[in-house]
């Protein structure tokens, strides 16, 4: 069975921008990556067109 994540994801509460307008299914969010590790040149949404993107929001606490 494939595991979604090899990491034990922390269960907790979001603290960053919890009140911001949420994306809905069907939306095409635009986002940029400024401080990111292992980007291989990806700077945002446009660079990732052509493959599925799974964005996982996690926490350290």
């Amino acid at each position: 069975m494939k595991t979604l994540f090899a990491v034990p994801l922390v269960v907790g509460a979001l603290t960053a921008s919890a009140g911001a307008q949420a994306v809905e299914v069907g939306d095409t969010p635009d986002y940029s990556l400024k401080s990111a590790f292992n980007t291989m040149g990806v700077s945002g949404a446009k660079d990732l067109r052509g493959k599925p993107v799974l964005i996982d929001f996690w926490g350290t606490r």
């Binding site: 494939k2 509460a13 040149g41 964005i55």
Partner: protein
């Protein structure tokens, strides 16, 4: 999942409790979560509407949100959705003729010349203006994507990933053979790869890859971080050395470091 599907998908982990970039990457490194193609960031990207963690948004190849929710609770649905998207081959519009969809699938697999030929023929043989537009949009998408991949080779070479630059350049050149307009874009890459500086970067990358593997196996071991710092000293002046320096900085932020 990034490991399972490799380059067919992109996973982005977004730390969402204001831990900061250095700390969150160090945290992930300490748990041994590095060593795949996943991207790690603490940048704010967007809200999914969920206040609980972990939560996710799954985007299609055309960038549209197809699923969102609790990552743990929807594990099976996420896998099914990803497999379906990979099977369907990518960013072609749903209503596009099958020849155009095949063309999109081919260029996403790196078969640039074949895809260009298929899409060009689809445009020539189109029975309606709508069909022709799908094919022409496909050709434009292919050319845009090839341009961005060529830029990516330069980025990889200039940011301390010479072996990936070499691999991608060779793949682009191989896939473009036979389509003159595309070959023009990829030929210039040979000059980048042949330079003396690039060869020095490759030598540095070989050493960093060994040190990096050890570090990702046990980031809490200070000796592993020291090995990365040796790469910095041995290959001073290279882009790889700069990358090694950054890696060593993240290793300092690993909790519980011995």
């Amino acid at each position: 999942m990034q490991q399972e599907y490799g380059d067919a998908i992109q996973v982005i982990f977004v730390e969402s409790q204001n831990s900061g970039y250095q700390e969150s990457v160090g945290f992930a490194m300490g748990y041994g979560w590095m060593g795949t193609n996943a991207i790690w960031t603490s940048d704010y990207l967007f809200s999914t509407g969920s206040n609980g963690l972990p939560n996710f948004a799954l985007l299609s190849p055309s960038g549209e949100v197809v699923l969102k929710g609790n990552s743990n609770a929807m594990h099976g649905q996420i896998e099914e959705a990803i497999e379906e998207m990979i099977k369907n081959g990518g960013a072609a519009p749903e209503e596009a003729p099958s020849a155009v969809k095949k063309g999109y699938a081919e260029f996403l697999e790196g078969k640039w010349a074949k895809a260009h030929d298929r899409l060009s023929k689809a445009a020539e043989k189109a029975k309606t203006d709508e069909e022709r537009k799908y094919a022409e949009d496909g050709i434009k998408a292919l050319e845009d994507r090839l341009k961005s991949q060529v830029k990516r080779v330069t980025w990889l070479a200039e940011n301390g990933y010479p072996e990936r630059a070499e691999e991608l350049a060779e793949s682009l050149q191989k896939g473009s053979k036979g389509a003159d307009a595309l070959v023009e874009q990829t030929t210039a890459l040979s000059e980048v790869l042949a330079s003396e500086d690039f060869q020095k970067e490759l030598a540095a990358a070989k050493d960093l890859n060994k040190a990096e593997s050890k570090l990702f196996e046990d980031a809490k071991d200070a000796k592993a971080a020291d090995k990365v710092l040796e790469v910095v000293e041995d290959h001073l002046g290279t882009k790889v050395a700069l990358r090694a320096q950054e890696l060593a900085e993240f290793a300092k932020a690993v909790p519980g470091r011995k």
